[in-house]
Amino acid sequence: MKSLRFVLPVAIFAAIAWFLLKGLDRDPREIPSPLIGKPAPMFSLPVTHDLSRTWSPEALRGQVWLLNVWGSWCAACQVEHPLFNDLAKAGTLPIVGLAWKDMPDNSIAWLRKLGNPYAVVVSDIKGGVAIDYGVYGAPETFLIDKHGVIRFKQVGPVTPEVLRTKLLPLVRQLQDS
């Protein structure tokens, strides 16, 4: 009984401290996506470089690919962009750009300046497709497998570390399966 009087407050303190400590390195902006493990929503959007054509994810069925949501107005997108340029040069996997709430002319100018790693860029001017993908801030990046299922989502810029430790191992695993 006596020992409980000492142990209990310490245990409660330790429990609270543990939760607070865990809370420190959790990003409150990172909301777990309910879409992981679900089929990537279908869409048909105009191709940014040729607005008379449309593109749909159906075209990449059977391949592992990245969907990168960006915009020429988005500063953080410039941070991750060189990584995509490298990935495209290495030919690791096709990357599709979704220009979110961006005028096609601005998107094209931005890509001309910073390089275009995308197999195709589509324009979601009104943002309807972004809502289907649960996008709430650019950049966001989705990894989609051969069966069209979303396997991974990065909120915010893809960092070299995320690429090395999470994205690339998963890409290899999905490409081999």
Binding site: I31, S33, P34, L35, K101, G127, I131, Y136, G137
Partner: protein, 177 residues
């Protein structure tokens, strides 16, 4: 000597009480004077809140507008996380408000509209978390803590009353010496 000490401490207590009273009485004084001007700006935000969110004017009937207003106040803006869709000026919030409006116009019920957003953005879009397996602690926790607190208080009270008699006796014995 002993009596003097108690009197002076009583005096100090009385002084404290007086100071506290002055403080408490002192506060409402200027407050009441400031009340009438403070009351007038209050209705302004309310009218703003009802006017601002419906930015497309798609909804015409009062019922539709009431439903829309209620929904916009229950759904979270994911960009500025502590604001509702109704409160937020973020572009995404405007997109989602328009989505809610179009779904109301299309004759979808409130449950369908909420689950549409939950499927894409997760439970986090709901300001009122649903009661389910991973949230029961959130719902029950505060009440459980209240019960525990009441139990602890009750035990301490009980012990205090039981321990009072021997203490009094001891004090009397000491005084008699």
């Amino acid at each position: 000597m002993r009596a003097a000490a108690t009197r002076s401490s009583r005096g100090a207590l009385a002084g404290l009480a007086l100071a506290a009273m002055v403080l408490f009485v002192g506060v409402p004084g200027p407050g009441t004077a400031a009340d009438p001007p403070a009351a007038s700006p209050a209705p302004a935000p309310a009218t703003l809140a009802t006017a601002a969110p419906s930015d497309t004017g798609l909804l015409t009937t009062p019922e539709q507008r009431a439903r829309y207003q209620a929904l916009a106040e229950q759904l979270r803006c994911l960009v500025c996380q502590n604001q509702t869709l109704a409160d937020s000026n973020a572009e995404l919030a405007a997109d989602l408000r328009r989505q809610v409006e179009t779904m109301i116009l299309a004759g979808r019920n409130d449950g369908e509209i909420k689950s549409f957003l939950v499927e894409r953005y997760g439970d986090f879009v709901l300001y009122r978390p649903p009661m389910q397996q991973n949230t029961w602690l959130l719902w029950i926790g505060p009440f459980a803590l209240l019960v525990i607190g009441a139990l602890v208080w009750w035990r301490i009270q009980g012990r205090g009353r039981a321990g009072e008699a021997p203490d009094l006796e001891r004090a009397r014995r000491l005084l008699d010496e």
